[in-house]
Amino acid sequence: MVSRPHGGKLIDRTVSSSRRERLLDEARELPRIILNSSLAADVMNIAHGVYSPLEGFMNKEDYEHVLEEMRLSNDLPWTIPIVLDVDKKEISDVKEGDDVALYYNNSPIALLRVEEIYKWDKKRYAFKVFRTIDPEHPGVFKTMKRKEMLVGGPIDLISEIPEPFEKFRLWPKETRILFELKGWKTIAAFQTRNVPHRGHEYVQKAALTFVDGLFINPLVGWKKPGDYKDEVIVEAYQALIKNYYPKDAVVFSVLRMEMRYAGPREAIFHAIVRKNFGATHFIVGRDHAGVGNYYGPYEAWEIFKEFPDLGITPLFVREAFYCKKCGGMVNEKICPHSEKYRIRMSGTKIREMIRRGERPPEYMMRPEVAEVVLRHPNPFV
């Protein structure tokens, strides 16, 4: 059976077509808050249950609990605050209890019932979530540029935002039905922001050996400079799945959500999100959601011990490498040979090769995947 949604109920804050027209008219008369693409994605994710049990942007009580305890105020695990930041002047006419319209690309996409307007300390947020206030950290840098006030309250989605990868976008309601139709009782979810190399493939297939199906769910949306562009990731996975995966064992769909680079905290958040999609297991990689040297390589594994009530089982699959003596992809636990026979799958090294226009060797990247990446004049953000 697929996982229960986090908190027990899959949230649906989309409005019926019969109410939509009326609410759109209402929205045009209301004070406006302009969203950037990451916040607009959050609105969509809240409305479609990706962030269940959240029904809107966090009020102060949940925000404080998440920062301090990594739990919502009702004690459910939750590690990354989902907040809406605004300028004071943007909400100068707004008071608690009012409705406001959330605008994206000059159109109203949602209504928000303002429950609370409150200040936040961005440095404290950064320190708690990223465990650093170093502006070199991409998550800290982005946080410090956010606006000075937060607005909390439930939302109602009145207009869907067009998705460039619509063909590959599924919502939790859809994946849950899809997994059931496929007869999958155990589903391992794989989070990624990368083009797949052989190490990723090994980890996914190692997990797939023990479950009914694999759910590959890359993030599309804001990423730091130097990461792969969304279209490259999507095309590369299509090539990999088509050529190297059993047809009925994989579901691929994209999730529009920004990367935070919050390491261990984000690993828990990523697991909760995939639980809402129906996954029963979540693959946690080495330095999951990490960046630079801010987090230890296996800290994201350790943090799962703090959440016995997460409701999704983490799969800690060891980092894979190619062993010349074994003649294949292996990991520390199953390969007896010394380091001199081992070729590590370094994403940085592969990116450098691609930048030079070189084709990574087959033991690092499947030729069909390399072909996709090299075809793009500039595959990086």
Binding site: H65, D75, F127, E174, L178, K182, G311
Partner: protein
């Protein structure tokens, strides 16, 4: 960074004999206090009980049909 902790706690009572058993049990483990252990165990037990209690979400037949149609159209089934 100033401590801005605002999380509320309350007290529950357990027999002293049980407290002592737990205190000995957690020696040398990652648990740093009896309270931490009790919170951990309660969360685990409660989440299992809640799982059993929660009824599954009901999607209307009409909506399910529409989703299946979309999944077919996109080539997922």
């Amino acid at each position: 960074m100033a401590d801005q902790r605002k999380i509320k706690y309350t007290t529950v009572s357990i027999p002293i004999s049980l407290y002592e058993r737990i205190r000995k049990l957690i020696e040398g483990t990652g648990f740093t206090s009896v309270s931490q252990f009790v919170v951990y165990v309660l969360r685990e037990v409660i989440s299992e009980m809640e799982e059993e209690k929660i009824r599954s979400d009901s999607i209307s037949e009409e909506e399910k049909k529409a989703i299946i149609e979309r999944l077919k159209r996109l080539g997922y089934i």
